[in-house]
């Protein structure tokens, strides 16, 4: 799911980099203010732990094995803000040291796996962690973190004009569902083992105000999508800019997308349907989770 450099079009990676910068700064400040003194060794150790855990294979049968991604587990143990910081740290090390994921694409990957992934991983726990549905909450968190991250990644690639024939989408969809289930399962297994060792290591789900968190997640996702769409729909503005500063060739823009003019037309013509599709998916997920949570809460109180 780590998108390398060279895949995303300039409007996409640039707008996501710009969106991720203030988000990461905010999250870092938030995490630091929560418990500055002993956070750093804990976050460092947990980051290294996730790296190491990713090296351990979970055989799922038929010769394949899955491994932990970690956003949901980190969120359960550290809370969403600190988990975002740790995931961002991991992504940066992966991009720089391991060349797994691009550097210009860091904004996109951070947004997908660190910001949205952690938020999606934590949300079910926040809703149902205190009730007897906690095992489901943990599993759902793991699964959602993978699905949301993957959906965002594919949307970004789609907006960049990367060819996505239907068979690929269907196959990828299936694979991501499987990966999500594996993540959910592993997160649950590790969560249970950890709880058995020491109950205090797992966060109390009631410590964070729900509405602001869900609202922020949804708002950030929507804003990013709109920003990406707006930028993609206006390549002509960028072209005239580059011509104005004397750098444009015949039909080459300074900020050429990897796939030239074909993609601009592609986006402009159907951007409304694309916007609806991409956004609808994400919003639907958030709404379903929230509605289900409310339904269960009402049943519990009845």
């Amino acid at each position: 799911m780590h998108i390398p450099d060279g895949f995303l079009s300039a409007p996409v990676w640039l707008s996501l980099d710009l969106a991720a910068l203030p988000a990461v700064a905010y999250v870092a400040r938030r995490a630091q203010s929560e418990a500055p003194e002993n956070q750093i060794p804990l976050l460092g150790a947990m980051g290294a732990f996730v790296f190491a855990a990713q090296m351990i294979n979970f055989p799922v049968g038929a010769g394949t094995s899955g491994h932990l991604l970690g956003s949901a587990l980190l969120a359960l143990v550290l809370g969403p803000a600190a988990a975002c910081v740790v995931m961002t740290a991991i992504l940066m090390i992966q991009a720089l040291v391991f060349q797994d994921g691009g550097v210009l694409a860091l904004g996109a990957n951070t947004f997908n796996m660190s910001l949205a992934g952690v938020a999606a991983g934590y949300l079910p726990w926040r809703l149902w962690g205190a009730a007897q549905w906690r095992k489901f909450a943990v599993f759902a968190g793991g699964m959602l973190s993978v699905l949301v991250g993957a959906a965002l990644a594919f949307t970004e690639l789609w907006f960049s004009g990367v060819p996505m024939p239907r068979p690929l989408l269907v196959l990828s969809g299936g694979l991501f569902l499987l990966a999500g289930a594996i993540e959910g399962g592993i997160t649950l297994a590790v969560f249970q083992a950890v709880e058995r060792m020491n109950r205090s290591w797992v966060r109390d789900p009631r410590t964070f105000p729900l509405i602001p968190q869900a609202a922020v997640t949804a708002a950030a996702a929507i804003l990013a999508m709109v920003g990406v769409l707006a930028a993609s729909a206006a390549p002509d503005i960028l072209e005239s800019f580059s011509r104005a500063i004397g750098l444009g060739g015949k039909e080459r823009a300074l900020v050429a997308t990897p796939f030239g003019g074909y993609e601009a037309e592609f986006i402009r013509s159907s951007w409304l349907s694309k916007a609806t599709a991409g956004l609808a998916g994400l919003v639907a997920v958030v709404l379903c989770v929230w509605a289900w949570g409310r339904f269960l809460a009402r049943r519990r109180n009845a």
């Binding site: 998108i3 390398p4 450099d5 060279g6 895949f7 300039a10 700064a25 400040r29 630091q32 500055p36 003194e37 750093i40 060794p41 804990l42 976050l43 460092g44 150790a45 980051g47 290294a48 732990f49 790296f51 190491a52 855990a53 351990i56 294979n57 979970f58 055989p59 049968g61 038929a62 010769g63 910081v85 740790v86 740290a89 090390i93 991009a95 720089l96 040291v97 391991f98 060349q99 691009g102 550097v103 210009l104 690639l157 990367v162 060819p163 024939p165 690929l168 399962g185 592993i186 297994a189 590790v190 083992a193 950890v194 020491n198 080459r252 900020v255 050429a256 990897p258 796939f259 030239g260």
Partner: protein, 243 residues
């Protein structure tokens, strides 16, 4: 493992190693921008932009073959989409995906192989990355080495006890064993975090990690930053016009 090799390469000496990390980071971003915005044809642009990167490895005295091999890590993800483009009839797009992601990866590898990672992080901080995040990355990196050795030991120990069974059926025991391994790693990490914290307060830590001075930017670093970045962007523009 990859990070051990990159770390080893970053410890040697060469004209590139001696440049300030902030300059190298600047040049790296310029390179990535040049590659990302370049038009798609491989014949001129790809080869043209590859030349300075390969030259960089030679100047840095890093084994070129090994570096080129390590750059192939982008291949699995890229090849899938490249294949789809190729099958869909767009050879140019397929090639572009391949060479752009490969060259970008090589550029990053060159930058980190010629700079000790802590210096690279201080450069990132200087250029605007939040300090708290940078400190966390320092710690994750520091303990990455310790914990990856632990994982290697665990893997070896598990192999000695015959965990390599290839079953076609879902094996509950193996999953349980893997979950157990992960939870052991987890508790050791928690214990280590406590130990580090104790060591920090034992030497007067009060909440902010203070560091010694970073070296000053020399005139050679400025020349390098301007020349390399400027040269790459100029190259990109020239190649853009030619192709």
């Amino acid at each position: 493992m990859h990070h051990f090799v990159v770390d080893h390469w970053s410890q040697s000496d060469s004209p590139l190693h001696r440049r300030d990390a902030r300059a190298k980071l600047f040049v790296l971003v310029a390179t990535l921008l040049a590659v990302a915005t370049a038009p798609a044809q491989f014949q001129w642009t790809g080869v043209g932009l590859a030349a300075p990167i390969l030259a960089g490895f030679l100047i840095a005295r890093i084994p070129l073959g090994a570096a080129l091999l390590r750059g192939l890590v982008v291949l699995p993800f890229t090849a899938t989409f490249a294949l789809i483009s190729y099958v869909g009839g767009d050879v140019e797009r397929a090639a572009a995906l391949l060479w752009k992601s490969y060259l970008s990866g090589l550029a990053v590898l060159l930058a980190v192989s010629t700079t000790p990672f802590p210096h690279f992080l201080r450069a990132a901080e200087w250029w605007g990355t939040p300090s708290f995040l940078v400190t966390v990355i320092q710690f994750v990196y520091r303990y990455l080495f310790v914990i990856s050795e632990q994982v290697q030991h665990m893997r070896m120990a598990a192999a000695c006890r015959g965990s390599g069974g290839r079953g076609w059926l879902f094996q509950r025991d193996h999953v349980a064993a893997a979950a157990g391994a992960v939870s052991v790693l987890f508790s050791r990490s928690m214990a280590r975090a406590e130990g580090i914290h104790r060591a920090m307060i034992a030497r007067g830590f009060r909440g902010h990690i203070l560091t010694l001075d970073s070296p000053r930017f020399g005139w050679l670093d400025v020349v390098f930053a301007v020349a390399a970045a400027g040269g790459l962007i100029a190259l990109r523009i020239v190649l853009g016009r030619v192709s």
